[in-house]
C-alpha cells in the first residue's frame, strides 16, 4: 500500500520547500514476540521472550513488555541499559525522534538493541499498515508522534490478546508526559510514568538511583528562590548571534577558580577572541565544553582574570550570601590595561554533557537521600544526585550523568550511572583517568581483529613489487629500554665516492592498515597510542604494534625508507624515498648504543655505523640550534615500579644521552624531508604539523621573572629567545636556567596537525623549520599513517583513494588527531600525578627543597626538582585566621606577614599525601622555610632518608 508523506522544510537559503516522500505500508511486519502465530511468517527472528517473567513489578504482576516513549528513551537511557530491564519494544517513531535529538543516545540505544540478551525489539510501526497514522489537521508533529506511539501500544495489546487469551501478555506504555499518559489510559492502554514503574520493581531497588531526576516545569516556580536568569530560546540566540549582539563560543571553566570561566569565541576575525565570565550568575549554569551564547558587558564592568585559587567547598546548598562575598574577592582594583572583555551567558546553544567520573560527598544529614557528587574534573561543578546507597558508594569512584540545571538550584541535578570501584585502587583510577580524558581504551572489536594478517606471516613475492630489498644493509634500532613497538631503525655507510649514505627506516604500517576498513577507522579514532605509567593503550592491535610492524632485530620487516646521500659536513646531496624490506641487525637501548660508540675496542659494522650517525647528528644539531631551534625543558619523571605489586618505589628524572639526540636528529631530518616532498606533490592536501609562534604577551611572565633576577630575555625571534636562554646563567644559582626553560615551555603554543590546503602558515617555531610533519612513528600516531600514504602515492608505491585528497576530510581528521593528542598528554600527566601520590603514600611525609614557579594572589606554585613535582602552597586555610597577604602583580611577588616571596625563590616545603579529604586525595604542600610564625610548619617532622629506596632499586635491577 502506498501513501505519501508531505512535509515542509526550511532551506538553508531561507526558502520553504515542500517535500513529498513515498511511504509504503506493509502487512508482513512481525510483532517480535516469539510464539506469535500471526507473525510467524515474518522474516525477522523473534526477539522478545515469550514469557518475560524476570521483572516482578508490583504495578503489573502479569508478564509484560515495555514500550517507552521518546522522552523516556532520551532521558532514562541509563535505566534502560541496566541488565534488569529486558523485553522492551522500541518503536521506529521513537527511534527516529531520538536520532534527531541526540546522536549519542541514539548510538547507545542501537547498541542495546543489538545486544541479544536484552531482548529489545525495534518495531517499524511507521510502515505497518495498522499502526501508521497520518498527521491530522491542527495537530503538531509532536502530537502526531505521541498518537502514533499510542496507536502502536494499543495495537500491540490487542495483537497479543489475540495470540493467546490465557497467558495475559501485556504491553506497558511508559511515558513521563502527564497528558499523554491520561490519553493512553483513556484508550485502555496500561500506562505508567518511568518513575512509577521503576519504583514498582521491588527486586531491583538500585535502579531508582539511575533514574534521571527531571523537575517538572510546574513545581519549578514555587520551590526556592530563583538564582539564575533564564536562558534565551535558541531562535533568539541565533538572531542575536547573527546581529552581533551575542557571541557564540565554547565555554571553558577555570580549573583553579570555580567562579571564573572563559569563552572562546568561534570565528577568527573577532578581536576579542576570549571573553571572561566571572561570578555564578554570569556563568549562568553553563558547564565546561558547552557551546554558549554570551553577551558582552559594558566596559565599566569589565574585569581582569583573577589570580585567586578558589575551590568550591561549601557543603551547604544554596548558600548564596557566601558566594557573593567570595565573588567580591575576585573584584579587586586592577590597572586599566589588565581588563579583559567580560560577559555573561545568555543562553546555551548546545550542551556538551557526558557522564562524569568522580566521588560522592555524602550529605551531612544522615537520612538524606540527596547527596552532592564531586567530579574528578575540577572544571565541572558539583552535581546533586539522589541515591539510597550513599553509604556503599562512599569511597568509590562513580560515574554520574547530568540531567538538568533548574534555575533555582545552586547545583545541577544528575543521577548515578555506574560504580567503577574503590578510590585509590590502581585499576579504578586508571579507568577514571582514561574516561575523563576520553581515551578510547576498549579492547579491539572482532571486526578490527579480523583484518589482521594471519599468523605465521611472511613476506611474499607480491609484496616485493615496488619495494627495494635492503636486507643486506647494516640497519639497527636504538630505543629506550623495554620498548616493544620499535618504529624506526637507522643505518649509515660510506659510499664509493666518499660520501655517506644515511637511511632512516620506518615501519610500513600503511601496508597493514588499508584505507577505509574497520582497522583504519578504529586507529583514526584513537589517533595515538597513550602511554601511562604502567600501561600502554595501543592505537593498533598488539600483533601489529609489537610484532609485525615492530622493526625487531634479525627478522625481515617491511619498511618505508628515507635515504640521503650526505657529505661529511652533513649537507644533503640527494634524498630518496622507497618502500623496502629490511633486516635489523641489532635492537639497542640508548645506553647500549652509547656504550658501543664510546668503547674503543668495538669496531664492528654496527658500531662504525653508529659512530657515523653520531658524528653527523652533532653537526645537524649544531646547525639547527644556530637556526634558532629552541631547547626547552620540562621536568620529566620516570617511575621505578616494583615488579610484583606494580607500585612505584622510586622516581628519577629522565636522563639524556648523546644517542637520544642522535636518533632524534635523524627523525627530525626525515620528517622535514618527507614534509617537503609531500607538500611538493600535494600542495593542497598534505598533512603537516606546525607550531605557531606564541603572541608576545605569552612571554610576559617569563620576561618579568627573568627581570627579577636581573636577566634579560629577548623574545623577538626564536633565535633571540634561544640565545638569551643560553646566556641566562647565574653562578650562584645553577638551576635557574632550567627553571627559565620550564617557564619558557609554558609560554609556548600547542603544535598542531593541519592540512596544507587550509592554512598558509606552515612554520614550526620550536624546531625553527619552515615545514614539518610526522613520519617516523606510524605505529603510535595516526598522522604518520596518512603521511606514509601520501608519500607512497608520491613515489608511486601505492595507489591513492578519494578521502586522501579531500582537504575537508583531512582537516576534520586533523581536528580529531589534535584533540586525541592533547587528551593523551593530559592522561599521561594525570597518570604521573596519580603515581606520584602513590609514591608519597608509601614514603610518608617528606621535606624537600623547591623553587617558586608562579606567585598567585593567595598561594605559591612551587616546583620540586628532585621529583619534577609541581604543587601549590596555600596560605588561607578554612579554620585558621587569615594571614596578611599583599600581592604585587607587577613584579610579581607575594608578601606574607613580613616575608616577601618572589618568583624563583628557593623554599623548603613539606610534602604529604592529604588523605583527610577522601574526595580528592591530593599532595599537600606546606611551607617549612623560610619560617613565618603561625604559617610555616615546624621542621621537626622526620626528614626521611631519600637514599633509602636506592637499595631497593638495585635489587630490582639484578
Amino acid at each position: 500500500m502506498l501513501k505519501s508523506r508531505t512535509f515542509l522544510k526550511k532551506t538553508r537559503a531561507g526558502g520553504v520547500m515542500k517535500i513529498v516522500r513515498e511511504h509504503y505500508l506493509r502487512d508482513d511486519i512481525g510483532c517480535g514476540a516469539s510464539g506469535c502465530a500471526a507473525c510467524g511468517s515474518a522474516h525477522e527472528g523473534p526477539v522478545l521472550e515469550p514469557q518475560p517473567l524476570d521483572r516482578v513489578s508490583s504495578l503489573c504482576p502479569q508478564p509484560h513488555y515495555l514500550l517507552p516513549d521518546t522522552n523516556v528513551l532520551l532521558h532514562q537511557i541509563d535505566v534502560l541499559e541496566d541488565p534488569a530491564i529486558r523485553n522492551v519494544i522500541v518503536l521506529q517513531t521513537v527511534l527516529q525522534e531520538v536520532r534527531n535529538r541526540s546522536a549519542p543516545v541514539y548510538k547507545r540505544i542501537r547498541d542495546v538493541t543489538n545486544n541479544q540478551e536484552k531482548h529489545f525489539y525495534t518495531f517499524t510501526n511507521e510502515h505497518h499498515r495498522e499502526t501508521y497514522v497520518e498527521q491530522l489537521q491542527g495537530e503538531t508533529s509532536n502530537d502526531r508522534n505521541d498518537r502514533a506511539i499510542r496507536v502502536a501500544a494499543k495495537w500491540y495489546n490487542e495483537h497479543l490478546k489475540k495470540m493467546s487469551a490465557e497467558n495475559q501478555l501485556r504491553v506497558i506504555f511508559i511515558t513521563n508526559d502527564r497528558k499523554n499518559k491520561e490519553k493512553a489510559i483513556e484508550e485502555g492502554i496500561p500506562a505508567f510514568t518511568c518513575e512509577e514503574y521503576v519504583k514498582s520493581l521491588t527486586a531491583n531497588p538500585e535502579l531508582i538511583d539511575r533514574l534521571a531526576c527531571l523537575s517538572e516545569e510546574g513545581n519549578e516556580i514555587d520551590s526556592g528562590k530563583i538564582i539564575f536568569s533564564e536562558h534565551l530560546p535558541l531562535s533568539k540566540l541565533q538572531q542575536g548571534i547573527k546581529s552581533g549582539a551575542y557571541l557564540q563560543g565554547t565555554f571553558r571553566a577555570s580549573r583553579e577558580n570555580y567562579l571564573e570561566a572563559t569563552v572562546w569565541v568561534h570565528g577568527d576575525t573577532e578581536d576579542n577572541k576570549e571573553i571572561i565570565l566571572q561570578g555564578l550568575k554570569n556563568l549562568n549554569r553553563a558547564i565546561h565544553e558547552d557551546t554558549v551564547a554570551v553577551e558582552l558587558l559594558a566596559k565599566n564592568q569589565w574585569v581582569a582574570p583573577s589570580s585567586v585559587v578558589l575551590l568550591d567547598e561549601g557543603q551547604n546548598e544554596d548558600d548564596m550570601e557566601k558566594e557573593e562575598e567570595r565573588e567580591c574577592i575576585l573584584k579587586t582594583a586592577v590597572s586599566e590595561k589588565m581588563l579583559k572583555p567580560t560577559g555573561r551567558v545568555v543562553g546555551i546553544i548546545r550542551r556538551n554533557w557526558r557522564p562524569y567520573c568522580g566521588m560522592l560527598s555524602k550529605s551531612g544529614i544522615k537520612e538524606s537521600r540527596r547527596h552532592l557528587f564531586t567530579p574528578a574534573d575540577k572544571r565541572i561543578p558539583r552535581i546533586r544526585i539522589e541515591t539510597r546507597q550513599a553509604s556503599t558508594l562512599e569511597g568509590q569512584r562513580i560515574i554520574v550523568a547530568i540531567d538538568g540545571w533548574p534555575r533555582n538550584s545552586r547545583y545541577p541535578n544528575g543521577h548515578f550511572v555506574k560504580n567503577l570501584g574503590e578510590v585509590g585502587d590502581k585499576e579504578t583510577e586508571t579507568e577514571v583517568l582514561l574516561l575523563e580524558h576520553d581515551v578510547p581504551h576498549q579492547p579491539f572489536s572482532q571486526a578490527v581483529l579480523s583484518l589482521l594478517p594471519k599468523m605465521p606471516w611472511s613476506i611474499t613475492e607480491k609484496d616485493m613489487k615496488n619495494r627495494e630489498d635492503l636486507r643486506h644493509l647494516c640497519v639497527c634500532s636504538v630505543d629506550p629500554p623495554g620498548c616493544t613497538d620499535i618504529d624506526d631503525a637507522l643505518h649509515c655507510r660510506e659510499l664509493e665516492n666518499g660520501n655517506l649514505e644515511v637511511g632512516v627506516h620506518i615501519a610500513d604500517v600503511s601496508y597493514f592498515i588499508r584505507p577505509g576498513n574497520a582497522l583504519d577507522q578504529e586507529s583514526a579514532r584513537r589517533g595515538t597510542t597513550v602511554y601511562l605509567c604502567e600501561k600502554r593503550i595501543d592505537m593498533v592491535p598488539e600483533l601489529l604494534s609489537s610484532n609485525l610492524c615492530s622493526l625487531r632485530s634479525n627478522v625481515d620487516r617491511l619498511a618505508f625508507s628515507c635515504i640521503w646521500e650526505m657529505n661529511h659536513n652533513a649537507e644533503i646531496l640527494k634524498t630518496r624515498f622507497t618502500k623496502s624490506v629490511i633486516n635489523s641487525k641489532a635492537s639497542l637501548t640508548y645506553a647500549e648504543a652509547q656504550m658501543r660508540i664510546d668503547s674503543s675496542t668495538m669496531n664492528d659494522s654496527i658500531t662504525t655505523s653508529l659512530r657515523g650517525l653520531n658524528k653527523l647528528a652533532k653537526i645537524l644539531k649544531k646547525g639547527r640550534i644556530e637556526n634558532g631551534a629552541l631547547t626547552l625543558s620540562s621536568p620529566e619523571v620516570r617511575f621505578h615500579m616494583d615488579s610484583e605489586t606494580h607500585d612505584p618505589i622510586d622516581l628519577q628524572t629522565k636522563e639524556l644521552r648523546e644517542t637520544n639526540s642522535m636518533v632524534e636528529e635523524f627523525m627530525l631530518l626525515a620528517n622535514i624531508s618527507v614534509a617537503k616532498k609531500i607538500h611538493e606533490e600535494f600542495s593542497e592536501h598534505a598533512l603537516l604539523r606546525k607550531h605557531p609562534a606564541p603572541p608576545p604577551s605569552n612571554y610576559e611572565i617569563l620576561v618579568k621573572a627573568a627581570k627579577s633576577k636581573n636577566l634579560e630575555i629577548k623574545t623577538d625571534t626564536a633565535k633571540a629567545l634561544a640565545d638569551s636562554l643560553d646566556r641566562a646563567d647565574s653562578l650562584t644559582f645553577p638551576y635557574l636556567n632550567t627553571l627559565l626553560r620550564i617557564l619558557a615551555t609554558r609560554c609556548m603554543m600547542q603544535a598542531v596537525y593541519f592540512c596544507s590546503g587550509m592554512d598558509t602558515d606552515f612554520h614550526h617555531y620550536g624546531l625553527a623549520s619552515p615545514i614539518y610533519t610526522h613520519f617516523t612513528s606510524p605505529i603510535r600516531r595516526y598522522a604518520d599513517i596518512i603521511v606514509h600514504r601520501l608519500l607512497a602515492v608520491a613515489v608511486g608505491a601505492d595507489c591513492t583513494y578519494p578521502e586522501l585528497t579531500d582537504k575537508h576530510k583531512l582537516a576534520e581528521l586533523c581536528k580529531n588527531l589534535n584533540f586525541r593528542h592533547k587528551m593523551a598528554q593530559y592522561a599521561q600527566r594525570a597518570s604521573v600525578a596519580f603515581h606520584t601520590q602513590l609514591f608519597f603514600k608509601s614514603k610518608g611525609i617528606v621535606s624537600e627543597e623547591a623553587y617558586i614557579l608562579f606567585v598567585r594572589k593567595n598561594a605559591l606554585v612551587v616546583l620540586i626538582p628532585k621529583y619534577g613535582l609541581e604543587g601549590t602552597v596555600f596560605f588561607e586555610e578554612k579554620d585558621k585566621p587569615k594571614p596578611r597577604l599583599t600581592y604585587d602583580d607587577e613584579i610579581p611577588s607575594l608578601k606574607i606577614e613580613d616575608t616577601v616571596f618572589h618568583i624563583f625563590d628557593k623554599v623548603k616545603v613539606k610534602i604529604m599525601l592529604d588523605s583527610s579529604n577522601l574526595q580528592h586525595q591530593k599532595i599537600r604542600m606546606s611551607l617549612v622555610e623560610p619560617q613565618i610564625p603561625g604559617i610555616s610548619v615546624p621542621t621537626d617532622t622526620s626528614n626521611m632518608d631519600i637514599s633509602e629506596p636506592e637499595t631497593k632499586k638495585k635489587k630490582l635491577q639484578k
Binding site: K10, Q135, G138, Q238, Q239, S243
Partner: protein
C-alpha cells in the same frame, strides 16, 4: 497548433450547421463540451489541476516559492507563468516547435492576470520589500483538441483554487532583524481567493455566427476569433482578437455579450464542482492519470 485537413465540402457542412445552431457534435452555438476537472493531482506542488475538454488535456501545477517582491510593488507577491507544449500533444511541438505557442499563451495569461482584482497579490506579501510568495504557474499541454485557451484558463483557476501556501510568521527582534518561522503543521496554510480569477471564453466567428468552445474542425473553418476573459460576475477584464480575418464592430459587440453570458455560467458550474470536490476532503478517491 494542431492541424486538421478538411475538404471544402466538410467546411461548408460545418458552416451551414452553425448557421442553423446545430454543430457537428450536436451542440448549440453557446454550448461547451463536457469539462472534466480534477485538482490535487501532483502531490509535490502547492496546487495542481487537470482539465479535460473534449480531447484537449491540460495539466497545471502551481509552486509557491519565497522571493523578494518587485521593486515597483514592494508589498505584493506575483505570479509567473510558463507554458510547456509537450510533444505528446502533437508531433509539431517536438524540439522547440511548441515554444512560440507556449510564449503566446503565457503572454495571454500575464495579460488577463495583470489587474488588481483577479488575485489578491497583497496577501502573497510576507514582509514588504523583503519577502513575498511567488507563484510559479506551470502549464503543460498534454493533448490539443481545440479551444486551448479556455481549457488552460479553467485549469489555472482550478489549480489556484487548490493552492495551499504554508503559513509563515515573521519574527522580529529588537534590532529589527527578521527571521522567518515556518509552522510545524502542514495543514496550517493560506488559501487564495479565486472569486475574481477570470476565465477565457473564446468565440470563433464561423460564417455569420460565432460559436464557443470550437473543436479543431470548427477552428479550421473560422478565420477570426475573439478571446474574452470574463470574471464570475461577468466583468470583461481583457480581450484579444486572433486569426487573420477581420471582425466588424457590431459582431465584436455581440460576441462580448455572448461571452459574458456564457462566462457567468461557466464560472458558476466550475465553482460548484471545485467546492464539491474540496468537501470530499483528503479521503477522496483520486482519478489521476490512470483513471
Amino acid at each position: 497548433m494542431a492541424f486538421v485537413a478538411l475538404s471544402e465540402a466538410e467546411k461548408v457542412y460545418i458552416v451551414h450547421g452553425v448557421q442553423e445552431d446545430l454543430r457537428v457534435d450536436g451542440r448549440g452555438c453557446e454550448d461547451y463540451r463536457c469539462v472534466e476537472v480534477e485538482t490535487d493531482v501532483v502531490s509535490n506542488t502547492s496546487g495542481s489541476a487537470r482539465v479535460k475538454l473534449g480531447h484537449t488535456d491540460i495539466l497545471v501545477g502551481v509552486k509557491a516559492e519565497m522571493g523578494t517582491p518587485k521593486l515597483e510593488k514592494p508589498n505584493e507577491g506575483y505570479l509567473e507563468f510558463f507554458v510547456d507544449c509537450s510533444a505528446n500533444a502533437t508531433p509539431e511541438f517536438e524540439g522547440r516547435g511548441g515554444d512560440d505557442l507556449g510564449t503566446e499563451i503565457a503572454n495571454t495569461l500575464y495579460r488577463i492576470f495583470n489587474n488588481k482584482s483577479s488575485v489578491d497579490l497583497k496577501s502573497l506579501c510576507i514582509s514588504p520589500r523583503e519577502h513575498c510568495w511567488i507563484l510559479y504557474v506551470d502549464v503543460l499541454l498534454l493533448e490539443c483538441g481545440g479551444n486551448l485557451f479556455d481549457a488552460i484558463s479553467i485549469a489555472v483557476k482550478a489549480a489556484l483554487f487548490n493552492t495551499r501556501i504554508p503559513r509563515v510568521r515573521v519574527l522580529e527582534d529588537e534590532e529589527g532583524l527578521k527571521d522567518i518561522e515556518l509552522s510545524d503543521d502542514p495543514y496550517d496554510c493560506i488559501q487564495l481567493s479565486v472569486e475574481n480569477v477570470p476565465c477565457i471564453v473564446t468565440l470563433c466567428k464561423i460564417g455569420y455566427r460565432h460559436v464557443v468552445d470550437a473543436t479543431l474542425q470548427e477552428e479550421a473553418c473560422s478565420l477570426a476569433s475573439l478571446l474574452v476573459s470574463v470574471t464570475s460576475k461577468g466583468v470583461v477584464t481583457c480581450m484579444r482578437k486572433v486569426g487573420k480575418g477581420s471582425l466588424d464592430p457590431e459582431s465584436v459587440f455581440e460576441m462580448m455579450e455572448t461571452s459574458k453570458r456564457v462566462g457567468k455560467v461557466l464560472h458558476t458550474s466550475l465553482q460548484s464542482v471545485l467546492h464539491k470536490e474540496e468537501s470530499l476532503g483528503p479521503k477522496r478517491q483520486k482519478v489521476g492519470f490512470l483513471g
